[in-house]
Assembly symmetry: C2
Homo-oligomer: 341 residues x 2
Amino acid sequence: MMSTESIATSLEGVRRRVKPAIEAELQRYVNAAEEAGLAEMQHMLRFHLGWEGPGAGDKATGKRIRPLLVLLSCEAAGGAWQAALPAAAAVELLHNFSLIHDDIQDNSRTRRGRPTLWAQWGVAQAINAGDALFALAHVALEDLEDAVYPQAAKLLPRVSLELTQGQYLDLAYEDKPDLDASAYWPMVRGKTAVLLSACTRLGALVAGARDAQLSEYAHFGEKLGLAFQVYDDLLGIWGDEALTGKSAHSDLVSGKKSLPVLYALGRSEEFARRWNNGKIAAEEVADLAALLEAAGARQYVEGEARRLTKEALEALERAQPAAEATAALRELAEELVTREA
Amino acid sequence: MMSTESIATSLEGVRRRVKPAIEAELQRYVNAAEEAGLAEMQHMLRFHLGWEGPGAGDKATGKRIRPLLVLLSCEAAGGAWQAALPAAAAVELLHNFSLIHDDIQDNSRTRRGRPTLWAQWGVAQAINAGDALFALAHVALEDLEDAVYPQAAKLLPRVSLELTQGQYLDLAYEDKPDLDASAYWPMVRGKTAVLLSACTRLGALVAGARDAQLSEYAHFGEKLGLAFQVYDDLLGIWGDEALTGKSAHSDLVSGKKSLPVLYALGRSEEFARRWNNGKIAAEEVADLAALLEAAGARQYVEGEARRLTKEALEALERAQPAAEATAALRELAEELVTREA
C-alpha cells in the first residue's frame, strides 16, 4: 500500500526520502517497454537517465529538480505527494527528451562528465532515443487519477510545443547579430520557464487545487524558472568555474546568447564589435567579462534574478501553501538562485 | 454549424470532399502557434506539410491516407466523420513528425520531389520542427469530445513509443548481417502497422464503438498496415520504377532491409554473399532481383500481401461496418495493395 507520510520540512530530508521514489517511478515507465530485441535501446535510455554505464549514479542522474517541484507543490497544495509521482516522472522524462536533442543540436559531446547519446551511439539513434522519452513522458501521465488526467494530458503537449518554440529561437539567434535583451525572454520562457510552471501547476492540480490557486502555483513555477535561467547565465560568466583563469567553461567561449551578452549587445558598441568579430578565446574571457560589467550587464542581470525570485515567492505566498512543504519549497527556490555551480 | 452529411460511397468522391476539411483541420493546429518571432519555424512546418514554398500543392501534401482511414472508420462505425477531424489531424501530424526525423536518420535529401527539412534548414532546426509536430499531434486531440478524449490521449503516446521502437530496429538492422524474415515483423509493426491500427481504432472510438468492435477496427488497421508495407517492399524491387533498366530507385540500391531481402538472406547463400559484400550498383539490380525470385522471395512476399489484405478485410467484416462508408474503406484497402507506385 501507498504510504501517505508527508515529505519533510528540510530540503535535504526531502531529497533523501523522495529521490528513490522518483527513480523507481521513472524506471517503471522506461523499463515497461523491455523486449529482447530492444535491449540496446533501453540501455541508451537508462544510460542517459544516469542508471547504467560508466559513471552511473547520483551525479549522472542530476538533481531531479523538476520532479521535486511537482511533489513539493502537491504537498504544499494539500495533497499526498505520492499521487503526483506519475506527473513528476512525466516532467523529468520530457526534460530529458529535450536534453538529448539539445546535445545533438549544440554539438555537445559530454554531459555531466559522460558522453552524450549522439557521441556514443550516433545522431540517428540519439534522435530516436529522445523521441522515445518524449513519448514516455506522455505515457507516464496515464497513471494519474481520472479526475485530473484530462487536464494534465492537455497541459503537457502545450508545454512541449512551447519548448520547441524556445529552442527554435535559441537556434535561430546563433545567426542573428542585432539582438538585445528583449529577445531573451520569449526564448527562456519556452526553454525553461514553461516546464517549471507546468511542474508547480501539475503538483497543485493533483492536490485538487483549482482556478486562482492553480494559477498562482503556475506563476510561482514560471517566475522561478526565469530566475533559475537568469542566475544560470550569471554563473556562466561570473561563476567560479567560468571566470577562473583562462576558462573554456565560460558562456563567452561557447558563444551562448545569455542575458548579460544580449543586454550588452544593445548597449555597448565596444562589446558588440568584439562579440560579432568571431569566436571568443579562453584568454579573452576576463577582459570581455569586464566589458560586460562596465556596460552594466552584471548589475542588470543580478537585479533581474532578485526581482524574479521575489515575484516567484510572492506568487507562492498568494497560493496559501500548507506550512510543512512550504519551507522545503522556499529552500529549493533559494537554492536555485544562490547555488555556486 | 458543423455539417453532418455523410462522406460518400466512392473513394474518389470521398477524397474530393474530405481533403479540404483535413487540410483545414491540420492548418488550424499548425497555425495556432503563429507569432512574429516564429514565422520561419511556422514556414518550415507548412513547407513540410506541402502548403508553402516551391512545389506546394496536392503532390506535396501526399494522399493523407491516415486521416482518411480515421474519418472513414468513424463513419463505418456509425459516427459523423466531422467529429473525428481532431483525431485525423493528430495521426497525420504524428506521421509527419516521423517523416522529418526519418529523413535526417536516413540522410535523405528529397521527399516527394522537394528538399527535406534538414537539407534546407539544417539538422538542428529540422529535429526541432519534427519535435514541434510531435507535440502538435498530441495538442490536436484536445478538441475531441470529453467522452472519448482520455482514451484517445492514452492511445497516441503508446503509438508514438512503438514508432520509436520500430525505428530503433530499422536503424539497428543496418549493421546486422545475420537477419531473416522473422526480424521484419516487429520492425514494420512499429514503423507502420501500429499507426494505421490507431487510425481505424480512433475513428471507431469517436463513433462510440466499444470493446469487441473497437478491437476489430484496430485489427483491420493493423493488418492493413502490414499489407501496405509488404506491398511497398514488393514495389521497391519489382515495381515499374524500381526494375526498369539500371534503376537507382530500387530498394536493392538503397540497401533497405525489406521483406524480400530478409526472406532471401535466410534462404539463399548466393544472394546473402552478394548482399553482404557491399553496396549494390544500379547495373546489378536486374540480376539481384532474379536471384531473389529464384529464392522464392517474390512468391513469398506476394502471398503475404494477399494473406494480410484478406485478414484485414475479414476483421473489417467482423466489425459489422455501416454499408455506406464500407465501400470506400474497402476501396482504400484495395488501393493500398494494388497501386503501381
